[in-house]
Amino acid sequence: MIYLGADHRGFSLKVKVKQWLADWGYEYIDMGNTELKLDDDYPDFAAAVAKAVILRQAQGQDSRGVLICGSGIGIAIAANKIKGIRAGTGTDPKQISAAVNDEDLNILAVPADYLSDDKSQEIIKVFLNAKFSGEERHLRRLKIIQAIENG
């Protein structure tokens, strides 16, 4: 399941992302905003998506989140506050592929203001297709992050 969220600056891209996900055969749930509201706040959507991803993963099901705002910065900061979330900001498909491979990213933050639709589409596709390597050194580092969250 893919959970989607965006503030006003990511709203129009989110509409397109839903179409792409449907075309690619992914199931998704839109966590808002449900309308274009210029004074909405990105942490609200970051928290909604992050909590949904964690809940679904706790049930043993594969789940990822895609968050969209203007810069992809604030929304990734907010999502990463939540235990179990590893959110990365994507402007380069190669970088996102490497970050899923190494860090097992479970949320992608997309900077709508800096990416063409084609680039956004490419990055989201790469994110959803990429797999965590599961290598021992990466697992060891993820365990350290878990310990930090619990400490």
Binding site: D39, D41, Y42, P43, D44, A46, A47, A50, K51, G70, S71, I73, G74, A76, I77, A78, N80, K81, I82, K83, I85, R86, A87, G88, T89, T91, D92, K94, Q95, A98, A99, D102, E103, L105, P111, D113, Y114, R137, R140, R141, I144, I145, I148, E149, N150, G151
Partner: protein, 156 residues
Amino acid sequence: MKIYIGTDHKGFRIKEKLKVWLNDWGHEVEDFGAFGLNPDDDYPDFASKVAEKVSENPDSTRGIVVGATGEGEAIVANKFRNVRASVYYGGPEEIIVLSRDHSDANVLSLGVLFLDQETIKKMVKLWLEKPFSGTERHRRRMAKIKEIEDHHGKAS
């Protein structure tokens, strides 16, 4: 300004250069390692030390962490209260500007595999010089991030 820096093996060489630049620009630098090039070291160990210090004085200190993509270090740093870490691994300098202007980022996480030395130098300088806008809507959003920390964040 007091600046804490840390990196794993991937950013070790650039960290040594960063120290020189930061000193030249008049900042006080504290280095949290790595202190040698060890391919087996783990980035969360260094990023967490930097973030912990910034967390203690989030408005008057900054952190700079370096990694391959920069994502893992930012994830770790953002687990700490009052830390707002943004990633930079290329692209328009507006990303750097907005990380300060809108998000008041106090940790910068650099993806060294995607950046050359001159770009790093330029972007770090810009990031250190650019103030937070302080506008009401950005403060409101930061307050909401704090609420998330209170309810869903790290235990201590």
